[in-house]
């Protein structure tokens, strides 16, 4: 911690026009002339785009010519261009941490567009505040830490599987953690994919097998993340392996049972007397208390539902010499060390019964589109025959209600577009036309959003096939109690008249929402979320896979609604981003560490419990008790520095004199 020599500070101020984004509101010339009068400022300059190469060169050249000790750039936000200008500062031969940014765009010109005078005055203040800090900045050296050569992917849907495969194929040992007994996720519940009409299982199950067989992937199904410690390169993730009640052949071997372990034969389920609804079939088909979701599960290992199991022991008996069933199994905790993490947490279906006017769960013949997927799927509960739940009859008139809970500003549904409902509803219309002669699909829509490659063409095709499109949001659905037929009431906004359509079956294209575990998991990893609960990317345009927690990346719908191709693409992006620190072998941590000023430290130890990372400890040094910081554990929040009663903690880059100088510069300096 260097002694700060304020008197010798020589600061350069560089003002960015950002085209007209800043200069259109703020009088840059006036701010520049003002900046020249601020103490310690030796040069003030401006340029249309400071972040461009000529702009950055101005900074580097001025550092050399004027022998600057600090640089201030007044431009957009440090969250966008702090790294850029730190590099420019470094290029001029100065330590990059001698740079300070004044935010005069995102927090000034853009939010005071109609008050140019006030905005200019605010910009002057912002520059003065930044100069005050820059005058006191010191050289800092980022700390390099080694990166563990393993990765973790949380979530075993198509996104998580793709990310795990990419990481594994890049030579990185990868843990794939999935809460369900099998990988596959939502995609394994779908019948066909749009617009190619590929069978979803047919393209997914080979990938599931690839994941299972990949030597670099350690597949941890029926496992949840319990706790996370550490930082990029060195995460310690504690996992809860839920008691499965069944052991794998490998586990059997470890227990000394020769040729034992589950082979997936299913003898146990045959004898099990307990019947429960199968969540994979959305409760439309039964399963036993010892079960698999469907025949293509990976790994092919049975699971005991201990909430339902009556411990009769018939399964143990039927398993015989394989001794795979262990009804006394308990949850196990395990901790793994990983360098980077990809979150692919997926989504749930919005509980559409909340939109009571559509009668889901009240009327037998109102179903959701995911239920439709299972009913139309050849491996589903009806063997692919679409039937009315009320009487098992084949429907001849089917209404599809789009934006069911999406684009809904009533406060009940979701304000956003769930993005893939238009396309799968078109696919559903195609599927019933193909399977049921004489059927008429009626699609109630607000807009058809067919945005992807070959999607618009698919839309035209479905129109030609005979689907009827009615532009209007469905007001309510009423059931005829005798026939169980449904009356769909809407306004046809193109013809400007009300519609009362009698149909046999209604399919609600229900909105999606973040998966139930998303909130808990994101908090464990310290990832933010947007207002609707989707995980927040580091930058919406330039860093859509990263998060604000270094070393944690996002893939798939957990970051926001997207279809399968976009999910897979983002998963590959996230895997690539997650592999970079691992392949580099080390990462630089921002050097915002706490330092103990031992001459001021009284050794009271009050700071020690303040640290959430246990980075502080009291030690004996030269016969005195003083605090000592373990830099590798310190994340630089400064909570200790804000608490120390003796002011004995120096927070690098956010030191008390630097912050006080900013406060003084605003309130005491400049145009009073």
């Amino acid at each position: 911690m260097a002694e700060v020599k304020n008197k010798e500070a020589r600061i350069g101020v560089f003002l960015c026009h950002c085209g007209t984004n800043i200069a259109g509101t703020i009088d840059i010339e006036a701010v520049k002339e003002y900046a020249k009068t601020i103490p310690n400022v030796v040069v003030a300059d401006n340029y249309a785009y400071m972040c461009s190469t000529p702009g950055q060169n101005k900074i580097a050249d001025a550092i050399k010519e004027q022998n600057l000790t600090g640089v201030v750039v007044a431009a957009c936000t440090p969250r966008l261009h702090e790294p850029t200008f730190r590099n420019a500062t470094k290029a001029g031969g100065l330590n990059p941490f001698r740079f300070e940014m004044a935010n005069i765009r995102d927090q000034n010109s853009w939010v005071h567009m109609h008050q140019p005078e006030e905005a200019t005055s605010k910009a002057k203040d912002a520059v003065r505040i930044a100069v005050a800090k820059a005058s006191l900045l010191e050289d800092l050296v980022p700390k390099s830490v080694p990166v563990e050569k393993t990765a973790m992917v949380v979530g075993g849907g198509v996104g998580g599987m793709q990310a795990a495969l990419d990481l594994a194929n890049a030579g990185i040992k990868t843990y794939l953690v999935e809460k369900n007994p099998t990988i596959g996720g939502r995609m394994s519940q779908l019948d066909k994919t749009f617009p190619t009409l590929d069978c979803s299982q047919c393209i997914l199950t080979p990938k599931m097998v690839d994941v299972y067989r990949n030597e670099n992937i350690e597949l941890l199904t029926y496992t949840e993340v319990e706790a996370v410690e550490g930082y990029i390169g060195n995460f310690d993730v504690t996992l809860r392996k839920k008691a499965r009640g069944v052991i794998t052949p490998a586990e059997a071997e470890a227990r000394g049972i020769v040729g034992g372990g589950c082979t997936g034969c299913g003898d146990c389920a045959t004898v099990c007397p307990v019947i429960k609804p199968n969540p994979f079939e959305l409760g439309m088909a039964p399963r036993k208390a010892i079960y698999i979701y469907h025949p293509q599960v990976s790994p092919l290992i049975y699971t005991v539902d201990f909430d339902a199991c009556v411990k009769c022991g018939l399964c143990v008996e039927s398993c015989g010499e394989k001794k795979a069933v262990d009804l006394d199994m308990k949850d196990e905790l395990m901790t793994v060390k990983v360098g980077t993490v990809v979150l692919a947490l997926g989504y749930d279906i919005f509980p559409i019964e909340k939109k009571f006017e559509w009668g889901y769960k009240n009327y037998d013949n109102v179903i959701t589109s995911l239920e439709f997927e299972r009913l139309i799927c050849a491996s589903g509960p009806t063997g692919g025959h679409l039937v009315r739940p009320s009487d098992g009859a084949t429907p001849k008139r089917v209404a599809f209600v789009l934006c069911a809970g999406s684009r809904d500003n009533t406060g009940v549904g979701k304000p956003y577009c769930s993005r893939f409902c238009c396309m799968y509803s078109l696919k559903h219309a195609h599927q019933i036309i193909e399977k049921i002669p004489g059927v008429v699909p009626y699609i109630f829509y607000m807009d058809i959003r067919s945005f992807g490659k070959m999607y618009e063409e698919f839309y035209y095709r479905i129109q030609d096939e005979g689907a009827k499109f009615i532009r209007g949001r469905v007001a309510n659905i009423l059931e005829d109690p005798k026939t169980k037929n449904l009356h769909v009431n809407a306004e046809d906004t193109l013809l400007g008249r009300p519609v009362d359509m009698e149909v046999d079956l209604v399919v609600l294209a229900a909105a999606i929402q973040p998966a139930a575990e998303t909130e808990k998991t994101r908090r464990l990893f310290g990832v933010s979320c947007s207002q609707d609960g989707w995980l927040l990317e580091a930058h919406p345009k330039l860093n859509p896979c990263g998060t604000t927690t270094a070393g944690v990346y996002l893939a798939g719908v957990c970051q926001g609604p997207k279809d399968i191709p976009d999910t897979v693409a983002q998963a590959e992006g996230a895997a690539s981003a997650a592999s970079i620190p691992i392949h580099r072998g080390e990462v630089e941590l921002e050097p915002y560490f706490a330092q103990c000023m031992e001459d001021k430290c009284a050794g009271c130890g009050m700071c020690v419990p303040q640290c959430p990372y246990s980075a502080l400890a009291l030690v004996e040094k030269d016969g005195r008790t003083v605090m000592q910081v373990t830099e590798a554990k310190c994340k630089g929040c400064g909570t200790c520095g804000g608490f120390c009663p003796g002011g004995a903690i120096w927070m690098q880059h956010f030191a008390t004199p630097q912050i006080i100088a900013q406060i003084d510069a605003f309130l005491l300096g400049g145009e009073q």
Binding site: V111, P612, K635, C637, I663, L667
Partner: protein
């Protein structure tokens, strides 16, 4: 209100991860709010020594805003809890020295709450305008 030419001097000390990002988002969405507040960025509201706020009032600040992440959302797990405890205590100190404790405010604005940041800004300026200049202003130098 005392002086017609008086414009409130309000300082906001905000955390890098949530409120600063939320303020940036307000910019991206072009949400307009009064230009009377100057922001200082710290990594976490936990960094804020109550002395910073007392120094600001000593320097004649009319109001101080501390803004961080929502509880449970702190980038450093619990810095905002600790900041909130300190601000709570500090408010009683302010009352004891004769300052209206409404001059110090702590809010929780996440990185996705640009609109909320705009309304917080508007509301803080309104509160301080109603309170008028800080009685400590004449002692500031």
């Amino acid at each position: 209100m005392a002086d017609e030419n008086w414009n409130p001097k309000i300082i906001a000390i905000i955390c890098n991860w949530c409120s600063y990002a939320g303020a940036d988002l307000a910019g991206g969405a072009r949400i307009q709010y009064p230009p009377d507040i100057r922001a200082i960025r710290v990594m976490c509201t936990g960094r804020i020594d109550p002395l910073f706020i007392l120094k600001a009032f000593q320097d004649g600040a009319d109001g101080v805003l501390v803004s961080g992440c929502h509880f449970g959302d702190c980038h450093y797990l619990e810095g905002n809890f600790k900041a909130a405890k300190r601000m709570f205590l500090l408010k009683s100190v302010l009352k004891n020295i004769g300052l209206d404790d409404k001059r110090l405010r702590m809010t929780f604005v996440s990185a996705s709450e640009g609109a909320k940041w705009g309304s917080v800004m508007t509301d803080v300026v309104k509160t301080i305008n109603e309170l008028g200049p800080s009685p400590l202003k004449e002692f500031a130098k």
